[in-house]
Symmetry: C2
Subunit: 453 residues, 2 copies
Amino acid sequence: MRPIDALVNSLSEARVVTDPDVIDSYARDRTFVEPGKPLGVVLATSRDDVVTTMKWAGEHRVPVVPRGGGTGLAGASIGTDGSIILSLHKMTAIKELSPADGIAVVEPGVITADLDKAARKHGLMYAPDPSSYEISTIGGNLATNAGGLRCVKYGVTRDSALGLEVVLADGRILDTGRRTMKGVTGYDLTGLFVGSEGTLGVITSATVRLRPAPTAPPATFAAEFGSLRDAGAAVSAIMAAGCQPSLMELLDRATLAAIDEWRNIGLESTTQAMLIGQSDASDGQAMVEKMERICAENGASFVAVSSSPEETEELIGLRRLAYGAKERQGACLVEDVCVPRSLLPDMITAIEAAAVRHGVRIATVAHAGDGNVHPVFIFDHGAVEPPPEVWAAADEVFKHALKLGGTLTGEHGVGLLKRRWLALEAGPVASEVQRSIKAVFDPLGILNPGKAI
Amino acid sequence: MRPIDALVNSLSEARVVTDPDVIDSYARDRTFVEPGKPLGVVLATSRDDVVTTMKWAGEHRVPVVPRGGGTGLAGASIGTDGSIILSLHKMTAIKELSPADGIAVVEPGVITADLDKAARKHGLMYAPDPSSYEISTIGGNLATNAGGLRCVKYGVTRDSALGLEVVLADGRILDTGRRTMKGVTGYDLTGLFVGSEGTLGVITSATVRLRPAPTAPPATFAAEFGSLRDAGAAVSAIMAAGCQPSLMELLDRATLAAIDEWRNIGLESTTQAMLIGQSDASDGQAMVEKMERICAENGASFVAVSSSPEETEELIGLRRLAYGAKERQGACLVEDVCVPRSLLPDMITAIEAAAVRHGVRIATVAHAGDGNVHPVFIFDHGAVEPPPEVWAAADEVFKHALKLGGTLTGEHGVGLLKRRWLALEAGPVASEVQRSIKAVFDPLGILNPGKAI
Ligand SMILES: Cc1cc2nc3c(=O)[nH]c(=O)nc-3n(C[C@H](O)[C@H](O)[C@H](O)COP(=O)(O)OP(=O)(O)OC[C@H]3O[C@@H](n4cnc5c(N)ncnc54)[C@H](O)[C@@H]3O)c2cc1C
Ligand SMILES: Cc1cc2nc3c(=O)[nH]c(=O)nc-3n(C[C@H](O)[C@H](O)[C@H](O)COP(=O)(O)OP(=O)(O)OC[C@H]3O[C@@H](n4cnc5c(N)ncnc54)[C@H](O)[C@@H]3O)c2cc1C
């Protein structure tokens, strides 16, 4: 009997997929990484399925690749040779939603947007909103510590995670954290699992924080700048003035040009950057007017403010078009560095220089309020993977981010793609400590080996 | 040569205190725990001193008790027999304060209030504000994950910690985290050290987040209620309405009576609880008026709103008097449980029942917006430690908090005092995992042994 047969016996055929084509579709994420040949896919429907899978994997020393929506941009859920893909996407129950306590308890496969929708019915929201929120799962968001547009105000996924149920590598069940807003018993294990990219345990339930949903539609501004430096200065000035935007996105010239080419937005030849900001506070209109003034003071050539839902949709729509506009132009490698806020213009300038030097096309958007920059490398549609000059430019971008006191990844994670550069950021002591922690949770090394650390 | 002489030789006499009286003063915190007989106190002035101390301690297997301001309420920095107390309170440099990036880099001995004051000069603030902020240190706040009045809006110390420099048990230096607002490379080691009560490493530097300071004076309301349940319902309704108070404190009848006895505040015989709330938002006045209305709708017998700094001072002053008023009445054991927000009235009712059943005096204040409740057990001034009936009542309070899905400690930590109850909250798997993590960082068990876990 092959090991996989033992698993099929324990879990039933319906829950273990061995069809190679189906396996292949579960072995990919949203990167270019070519998967290996996994043994199969487990479609877990309960914590028990996960426990059974982990015990089996331990016994047979089979690597397990946990998987949510498969929307990752770092190769973290890529299926490797001889592994089992453990998909959580069928565990979609919202087990509890307590408006009084401001929390929800959910299974890991719940789609991010579905939780937010459920919360809105009670005047609440689930704040973390990666742009992938309609296709990513809460489990995946937790395992990557996903950010999003709103996190400039509401924090990243970590800031909404109160407690987890985790199946450990040996099948034991660990409960971390709590259902209260505060608590300091024991080490912060919840924080340890958040962002661990499936290498420490499999999240089977999460207690997350819900926040009051804004009561009025958000007020929005857009500002155009003749230089990146001015736009960057405006961001710094806005943050320093205590404006607390609920969204603050920067689009560079290349991104605007891609959108203009697609939708003809009447882009001025002098516009080098656009800043789109929002406030969802009860005095949001006054807040964005203040942000607009600060933009004007910092040399914006054009500013518009809106609080009508339609106009707001139009302005935010521009940001939403960014990715699609780039995909029209070619295949995209979406990168993700983060620098201290004030160095945003330096970072974007360095990105533009790298593009020129290596003759590659890069269009950049940034969660500007947090210094989180997404350079998107655009190359030939036909290519199966990014050509060498793209990686050479990316290498330069990563190193520059580190030189500025920044990090290789603000929100997408390390996965497979960034491991090459990891040692440059984490010194030898940190690397050793990380490996020791990994060994505590996964002494056999069966949980998503080769990823993240 | 005694081991301590070797340490004196390496560090100089000025930095190693061996006078028994001085040692004793460094061996206590703000609890009743009687210290042991430590070998000495190291007054570290640099990271190198800490490294030297840890290497020496490892060589001689001497337990090390890190210590900040010694203001702890859990016995976590109590000096034990044969230990070395490693005091960080002389490392007070604010090494960097960058308004542009919204961060500061500080040594661990910086007094919390001093960092806040330094930030205010740039229109920023350091948000975490334990009531002890004029005497506690940033290192101690990090090691306990301290909360405070403002944390209902700005989060606990954890939410302001971006990166740490830590001297490990064997003297190696570990850098965790980063100086950016976001970042997901590697496991969250920063979070692991925050709240670890000096058992995993010694924090020698911290990069913390600063936030824009409110520009206008806060608006404040106070509301009196004829029943705790009404006050609790008002808190729930306020939070559910999305009001986002920057402070939300509840005082029970016993606390109000203690204050009244001292300062004659004209307490009505029917008043069972008072709620004091604040908003520091730019539309704070409107916000507190909304909160005031919600209090009235929930049966408040009296409400007052103020935005003049003097009246605000008076209202907040009431809250500040709470502890002093209790200390006048007797010796105080300050406890600290946290429950899901909606169960606040149940928790306080159970506390009052425990007081009656065990014939002890308990006066309670709560960081109500977070469900964090501080029952203060008042007993005879002369007693060296809380009498058995106080512990019996406390035992009941802790168990009730756990029954409600709450936690033993919302912000003060486990230290020595709560270890007895710890197993009731953390199951066997979590306890085992905690111990394994401890072993990764401190295989010899020399860092604050017998505390926290
Ligand atoms: C169009 C688009 C826009 C995006 N925008 C953003 C954005 O704004 N912000 C952002 O942060 N990311 C963004 N992403 C990246 C991606 O969506 C996030 O990383 C997301 O959190 C991944 O969730 P997932 O459910 O798809 O996880 P997967 O891709 O399936 O897995 C990601 C990682 O999580 C692990 N994992 C998944 N579920 C579990 C579990 N239950 N237990 C343990 N480990 C688990 C996997 O092993 C893997 O390491 C975007 C992606 C796309 C395609
Ligand atoms: C009047 C009063 C009011 C209080 N109000 C609050 C409140 O509102 N909220 C709250 O959370 N707490 C409160 N406390 C408790 C206490 O002030 C906090 O726990 C505070 O964070 C302790 O800081 P400290 O510098 O005094 O640390 P200490 O008491 O010296 O040490 C506390 C713990 O931290 C460890 N430690 C200290 N420095 C370091 C370091 N550099 N590296 C590693 N470990 C270290 C110690 O080993 C110990 O485990 C209050 C205390 C008093 C007396």
